[in-house]
Amino acid sequence: MDHKVEGPKVEYRPLTPEEEARRRKRSVAIALALGAMVLLFFVLTIAKLGPQIMSRPL
């Protein structure tokens, strides 16, 4: 038996050019922050374990 519930029909108005620009800037900032975090963990690993981290016997 189908128990489908009718939900409210939500419609979002299109973004204004100013809102589009704001969203894009935020996305770029999040991307840069993620990149910075990757770099931070890389530098942290090298600083904690030293450059010899890769030279180890298999």
Partner: protein
């Protein structure tokens, strides 16, 4: 009739919503209280350099400082999330991103929680778990104990809450030595005792604003005269305490000169606050005390930093 009965409760008509765009990048930065972050970096750095038996690589030190700053910023963000209602009624804070409608409260909450957890974990991995634990304690103390409880409950709010602002040097020393020593505890005590006269000077001027927001600051609860007397008493305690680093041997001649002159200056400003109780003179004295207290604390810590890192240390006590 529907089998679930739910369809009756839900509106079937179409509704148009504004899409969730989020704030501008500077709005998120403003949530972190950047001026407080700068102060935290500065005091934590001094906590690092006054540690006599510690050593940490510059890279680990820099990453740790960054995490301490982000953790402090995260607690500021959580504070703004919780206090958005009272920020909206005070002119000094009404333009903050949440009361001004530029960032939604839930977004700020998520931002603050993520940064709190991330900064604590990275500090633990970079330095040690004592430092990370102290940072987590600072965040919880400021966001939960101070913001959610003390601030609206007691006139001693900033006295007890001041502990959160005083902890960064202790975290700094924990980063370098893996323990907490007398040096950072003395710096903690200086900031802790400095906080009440500093904030109460501002509260004397902004008493009306705090009353409007329903915050029980000392001038609103005990009255301006009692607050002025307490400012003097705390300053009488602070001036000699400011010289404790000299007695303990990690503050040198430069620090001693600044500590004595600055302490006398603080006492003079506090007496001005006590004397001038009316009109424009009252406001001028209180704002003078507020401004000079910032300069005093900055110079004390700058002197320690200069002595320890620029080779200017000339011991007065063997």
């Amino acid at each position: 009739m529907s089998m679930t009965g739910l369809t009756h409760a839900l509106p079937a008509e179409r509704e148009t919503f504004a899409p969730a765009v989020g704030g501008d990048v500077p709005d998120y930065f403003a949530l972190l209280k950047p001026r407080v972050m700068v102060l935290v970096i500065f005091t934590a750095l001094v906590g690092m350099v006054v540690s006599p038996h510690g050593h940490v690589s510059p890279v680990i030190g820099a990453i740790s400082l960054l995490m301490i700053a982000i953790g402090a910023g995260a607690s500021g963000c959580l504070n703004m999330w919780w206090d958005a209602d009272i920020d909206a009624v005070m002119t000094r804070t009404a333009k903050r991103p949440i009361p001004d409608g530029r960032i939604r409260p839930n977004e700020a909450l998520a931002f603050g929680l993520f940064l709190s957890v991330a900064s604590t974990l990275v500090l633990g991995l970079a330095a040690n778990w004592l430092a990370a634990g102290l940072l987590a304690f600072t965040i919880v103390f400021y966001a939960v104990i101070y913001s959610m409880w003390l601030k609206r409950a007691t006139a001693q709010n900033i006295v007890i809450g001041g502990a959160a602002g005083a902890l960064p040097p202790v975290i700094g020393q924990a980063v370098v030595t893996g323990s907490v020593g007398i040096e950072s505890l003395v710096l903690f005590a200086i900031i802790f005792i400095w906080t009440p006269p500093h904030f109460w000077a501002l509260a004397l001027v902004k008493a009306g604003e705090y009353a409007k927001a329903g915050i029980p600051m000392m001038p609103n609860v005990a009255g301006p005269d009692s607050t002025r007397r307490q400012i003097v008493w705390y300053t009488v305690l602070l001036a000699p305490l400011g010289l404790a680093p000299v007695v303990l041997g990690f503050g040198g001649l430069l620090y001693a000169v600044i500590g004595v002159l600055g302490g006398l200056g603080m006492l003079a400003f506090s007496v001005q606050v006590l004397r001038n109780r009316e009109g424009e003179a009252e406001k001028r004295a209180a704002m003078g005390m507020f401004g000079f207290s910032i300069l005093y604390l900055f110079l004390l810590f700058a002197a320690l930093l200069a002595e320890q890192s620029l080779g200017l240390f000339r011991p007065l006590v063997a």
